[in-house]
C-alpha cells in the first residue's frame, strides 16, 4: 500500500516537474529565435477561427437559458426588467470565460493531445529532433501563443452572443422592452467586471494548451496511448479551468473590488 502511494507521488512529482519544464521552455521559445511564424498563423486560425462555431452556439444558448431561468426568479421580486443586468454580469464575469474555456478544452485540448500524441508514438517528434528542429518551438510555442491570445477573443464574442441570446428571450418570452434590457446592461456593468472577465481567458487559454501539449508529447503505447492522452487532456484541462476560475476570481476580488 505504501509503495503504491510512494509510486503515485513520485509519478505526480515527475509529471509536475516535466510540465513546469515544458512551460519554461515554451516561454523561452516565445522571445528567442527561431520562431516558426507560419505555424503561429496556422494555429491562430485553427484555434481562433476553427472554434468560432462551437463558441457561438454555446454562448447563444447559455445566454438564452440564463435569461429564462433568471426571469422566473426575478418575477418573484417583481424585478423582471433587470434581467439584462443579471445575464450580462453572469456571462461576462463567469459563464462566458468558463464555458468558452470548457468548449476549447473539448475541441482544442483534445485535438492537440491527439495530434502530438500520434506524432510521439509514430516517432515524428524524434524525427523533428533528428532533423534539427526543437519540437517545443515548432509545436508548443505556436499553440501556446494562439491559446493565450485567442481564448480572450472567443470569450468576448461568446459574452456578446450570450447577451444577445438573453435579449431574444427577454424580448419575446419575458416581454421585457428592448431599451430597458440594454440600458440595464450598461447601467449594471462595472469596469471591474470587465477586467475580471477579460483576465480569466488568458489564464484558461494558457492552461488548456500547455496541459494538452504536455500530455500529447509524453504519449506512449501506440494508438491506445493516444486515446488515453486525449481523455487525460480533456479531464485535466477541464478540472484546471474550473480550479483556476476559483483562484483567479479570489485574486481579482481582492485586487479590484
Amino acid at each position: 500500500m505504501l509503495s503504491l502511494l510512494e509510486r503515485w507521488l513520485k509519478h505526480a512529482a515527475l509529471e509536475a516537474q516535466e510540465y513546469v519544464r515544458l512551460t519554461r521552455a515554451a516561454f523561452h521559445g516565445v522571445y528567442t529565435r527561431p520562431l516558426y511564424r507560419h505555424d503561429i498563423v496556422e494555429q491562430f486560425d485553427q484555434i481562433g477561427a476553427g472554434s468560432l462555431t462551437v463558441v457561438l452556439l454555446a454562448g447563444l444558448f447559455t445566454g438564452a437559458a440564463l435569461a429564462s431561468q433568471t426571469g422566473l426568479t426575478l418575477d418573484q421580486f417583481g424585478a423582471r426588467p433587470v434581467v439584462g443586468r443579471l445575464v450580462s454580469a453572469s456571462m461576462i464575469k463567469e459563464l462566458g470565460p468558463v464555458l468558452t474555456a470548457l468548449m476549447l478544452t473539448g475541441r482544442i485540448g483534445s485535438g492537440i493531445a491527439a495530434e502530438l500524441g500520434s506524432m510521439a508514438v509514430t516517432d515524428q517528434i524524434n524525427a523533428l529532433r533528428a532533423l534539427g528542429t526543437d519540437p517545443v518551438r515548432k509545436l508548443v510555442v505556436p499553440r501556446v501563443l494562439a491559446g493565450i491570445f485567442m481564448a480572450p477573443v472567443l470569450t468576448v464574442i461568446s459574452d456578446f452572443i450570450g447577451i444577445l441570446g438573453g435579449w431574444v428571450i427577454a424580448r419575446y418570452q419575458l416581454q421585457v422592452n428592448s431599451g430597458l434590457y440594454w440600458s440595464s446592461i450598461t447601467k449594471g456593468l462595472y469596469m471591474q467586471d470587465v477586467w475580471m472577465g477579460l483576465s480569466k481567458p488568458f489564464v484558461f487559454g494558457f492552461l488548456i494548451v500547455t496541459i494538452a501539449c504536455h500530455v500529447g508529447l509524453r504519449t506512449t503505447g501506440g494508438t491506445a496511448g493516444v486515446g488515453k492522452s486525449t481523455t487525460i487532456s480533456v479531464v485535466a484541462g477541464s478540472v484546471a479551468v474550473i480550479a483556476a476560475d476559483f483562484f483567479v476570481t479570489q485574486i481579482m476580488i481582492a485586487l479590484l473590488y
Binding site: D123, Q124, R129, A130, L131, D134
Partner: protein, 282 residues
Amino acid sequence: MVTRTTTQTAKQILAEPGAPIVVFDHVQLAFDEKVVLADVSFTVIKGHTKVILGASGSGKSTILKIIVGLLKADAGVVWVNGQRVDQLSEPDLMSVRADLGMIFQEGALFDSLTVRENVGYKLYEETDMPLEEVDKRVEEVLGFIGLAEHIDKMPSELSGGQRRRVAIARAMAFKPSIMLYDEATTGLDPITGTTVDEEMIKLRDLENVSSIIVTHQLRDAFFVAEHMAHRDANGKVEVVPATPQKERQAEFIMLRDGLIIFEGDADSLRASQDPYIRDFLS
C-alpha cells in the same frame, strides 16, 4: 584557442580515409531495472557500413538514438564526427545532427506535409537556402530514389515501401555524411525491401555516405553488405555483387542482452559456431 585547435585537429583526422566517424566506448544504458546496453564498444570507419543485428529489444535502435542524441547514455563515451555527443546539450547537438540522416521504423514522415515538404523539411525550415534551390534539391533526391512523380502526394497516399524511400530522401536531402537506418525494411515484402536496400547501397557508394544499419532482417543485411553500386560510362547506375575489398568495408555486430557477442564481416558471421548466432542465422 585550445578548443579551436582541437576542433581543427579533429577535422583533419576525420578528413583522412579510414578515420573513425562514430565511436562507442564502453557505453551503458538502463531504463529503471532493465539494462538495455551493458557495455557496448565499437567504431564505424568513414565510408564503411556497420550492420547491427539482434533480436527485438536487444538495444539496436537505442544505439542509433544515442548517436543522434535522442537518448543519453548512463556511462561511457560516444564520439560522432569528432564531437562527444554524450556531453552535449540539446542546442549543441543540432550541429552534430546537421551531418546525420536518420530513417526511423515506419519512416516517421510528417502526416500533414506533402512528399515535397517532407523531403525538403530541413532545408525549408532550418536553413536560409533560397526556395528555388530547395525545390531543385528535393526534385533531385526524389529523382535519385525514383519517386519524382509522387512529389505532391501526401504520405497517406503512398505504399509502405514508398514511404520508407521518401524517408531516405528526407534524410539525404541535406547531404549528411552518416546515415542511420532503423529497421528500414521491416514489414516490407522482399521485392520492396530489395528496392530500399538498393537505395541504401547507392547512397553509400555513390554519395560516399557512412551507414549504420539496424535490422533483424538477415536477408537485407547480407544484401547491403555483399553488393555495391556502380555507375557505368553512360551514367547508368547498377547494383552488382561487391568486390572482396568492398565486402570487407561492411562489418556486422550481433547484440545480445546488451552486449556485443560478435563483430566481424559477413563471411565470419556465416562461419561463426556460436549456438545463439547459428540459431539467429538459421
